[in-house]
């Protein structure tokens, strides 16, 4: 029988969606049975007490957690988030309930061996409850006590070849899409770049010196499988120069019904015959596609890389041949000033492994130096950009001002010239001007 009565939580289980309440109950039951005969290092009834404290919070309409603390592993300023219950006598199993963040593999490719080791570790030294994955993308292990932290860290780093992730005013665990490992749209090797920058910026990941959190995300194309553009302070979104490659024969095959559109996705119902004009041409956001006389044409200059045509007809259309990445800065969630999407800082940069991505690292470090100098405490990069203007960021990053630095297509509110950037500065001869312009 359950340790605490939880009528309010039980109600959550009745909805149509999978319920975290059911998951926690399942874990509570498994721990009580202890079929593997584990020597649990934190109280066995920790999931029961977690349900109890949550029920109490629902009843009281206020939280019973105290958040934050000095807990961590030695020398690391992130990766562990302290949590304490303010009713420890009522709920001793969750008196401490610290969260541990663990770096996820690039592209989230796991071996079953690793997952088993992770679950075994967390059954033994934690609550057994995990969150796969947190919104940064990392592995979140929920609920352990202070004496377990160094043990968990040792096991992760020495036996599982892994590391803690980022939390606090650190570089957060960088996240990448699957990239070239499985995807033909990939414009650069997002996993390789993610790994390289993770290793390069270990100090920034583990020892906090930023004004606030900072996130990198790597999307190898504009489909944005890790939502870099919306969810990271610095987003690397794959793009190309030149023309989308068109195979007119394959276009005809799509029109003729030989190939299923969208690579066969959305096939759960009958959408009728594929209509290239309605489903591709008219949906192009910059109206740069035409289909006449059985030929598809793209005005590539106007293309805004929405990926829709390529997604719909992947066998007929391919990304351009010269590929690289765009860099966008300043996306964030709505804590201050509302949510922001990233703004384009670098329209195109080569992703060059041969020089160890130096061009990209120079931009990153320029942005960091500026933000660390100018950013206020607890101010995200996007807020500093908004406060000081985009031109200040572009200058800090060493990127020349460019008309493609847009807030959204065809809207460019940012660029202000300085006197020394204009021939003759702001001074001019009024008489000479008046010769050409009557008052």
């Amino acid at each position: 029988m359950a340790k605490h009565k939880t009528p309010l939580l039980d109600q959550l289980e009745s909805g149509p969606w999978p319920s975290f309440v059911s998951d926690i109950k399942q874990e509570a039951e498994a721990r009580a049975k202890n079929e593997k005969g584990l020597d649990y290092q934190i109280p066995v009834d920790c999931p029961e007490d977690l349900l109890g404290v949550l029920e109490l919070s629902f009843t009281d309409g206020e939280t019973h957690w105290k958040h934050g603390g000095i807990v961590g592993v030695f020398g690391y300023g992130g990766g562990v988030i302290g949590r304490y219950c303010d009713q420890p006598e009522m709920f001793p199993g969750v008196a401490h309930f610290h969260t541990v963040r663990v770096a996820q593999p690039a592209g989230k490719f796991y071996t079953t061996k690793f997952l088993r080791e992770l679950c075994d570790l967390w059954d033994l030294r934690g609550s057994g409850l995990t969150n796969m994955h947190g919104s940064t993308g990392d592995i979140v292990l929920l609920g352990t006590q202070t004496p377990q932290l160094e043990e968990i860290f040792f096991e992760l780093t020495h036996n599982m070849n892994n590391d803690l992730g980022g939390s606090g005013s650190n570089l957060r665990t960088p996240a990448a899409c699957m990239g070239m490992s499985r995807c033909e749209y990939a414009c650069y090797d997002s996993q390789e770049l993610c790994y390289n920058l993770t290793m390069e910026y270990q100090d920034e990941l583990h020892r906090p010196a930023f004004p606030y959190k900072f996130k990198f995300k790597f999307d190898a194309c504009a489909n944005g499988c890790v939502a870099a553009l919306a969810r990271s302070d610095m987003a690397f979104v794959g793009t190309w120069k030149g023309d989308i490659r068109i195979d007119q024969g394959a276009v005809a095959a799509y029109v003729g019904g030989e190939f299923a559109p969208n690579a066969g996705a959305h096939s759960g119902r009958d959408w009728g015959k594929f209509d290239i004009v309605k489903e591709v041409v008219e949906l192009c956001p910059s109206k740069c596609i035409s289909y006449e006389g059985g030929k598809l044409a793209i005005n590539n200059k106007e293309c805004v890389r929405c990926m829709h045509c390529i997604n719909t007809m992947p066998r007929a259309l391919r990304i351009g041949e010269e590929t690289g990445t765009s860099i966008l800065c300043g996306a964030k969630a709505p804590i201050l000033d509302g949510p922001q999407m990233g703004s384009l800082l670098v329209p195109f940069v080569e992703v060059n492994k041969d020089d160890d991505y130096q061009a990209i690292k120079d931009i990153i470090e320029g942005v960091w130096d500026w933000w660390m100098e100018e950013g206020k405490n607890r101010e995200r990069l996007g807020e500093t950009m908004k406060r000081l203007g985009f031109a200040a960021l572009a200058e800090a990053a060493g990127v020349p001002v460019d008309v493609r630095m847009v807030q959204e297509p065809r809207h460019n509110p940012y660029i202000f010239w300085k006197a020394d950037e204009v021939e003759g500065g702001w001074d001019r001869d009024i008489n000479e001007y008046r010769e050409r312009h009557l008052r």
């Binding site: 958040h67 934050g68 603390g69 000095i70 807990v71 961590g72 020398g75 690391y76 300023g77 992130g78 562990v80 988030i81 302290g82 304490y84 969260t99 006590q145 202070t146 004496p147 939390s167 606090g168 005013s169 650190n170 100090d203 020892r207 906090p208 010196a209 930023f210 004004p211 606030y212 959190k213 130096d369 660390m372 100098e373 405490n377 607890r378």
Partner: protein, 82 residues
Amino acid sequence: MPLDVEAAKAEILQFCESKSKSKSKFYFNDFTKLFPDAKSREVKKVLTALVNEEKLVFWSSGSTTMYGMAGAGKQAAAEGEG
């Protein structure tokens, strides 16, 4: 001019001590202001050394991280109990 690490350590500890009546946690920026001519990366190295010597500790809310003197503040006693 590069920072004199030992002098910088002493200055940081003295700064924390002088504020200890009103504050037990400090932002990273509070320390960079002590050394206006030094690069923030140099200041960070000094702070890291002090953490490794167990004179300073990190305090994290989960979203923000601060530095404090080891043993200072309300939570220190509660968190040592394990």
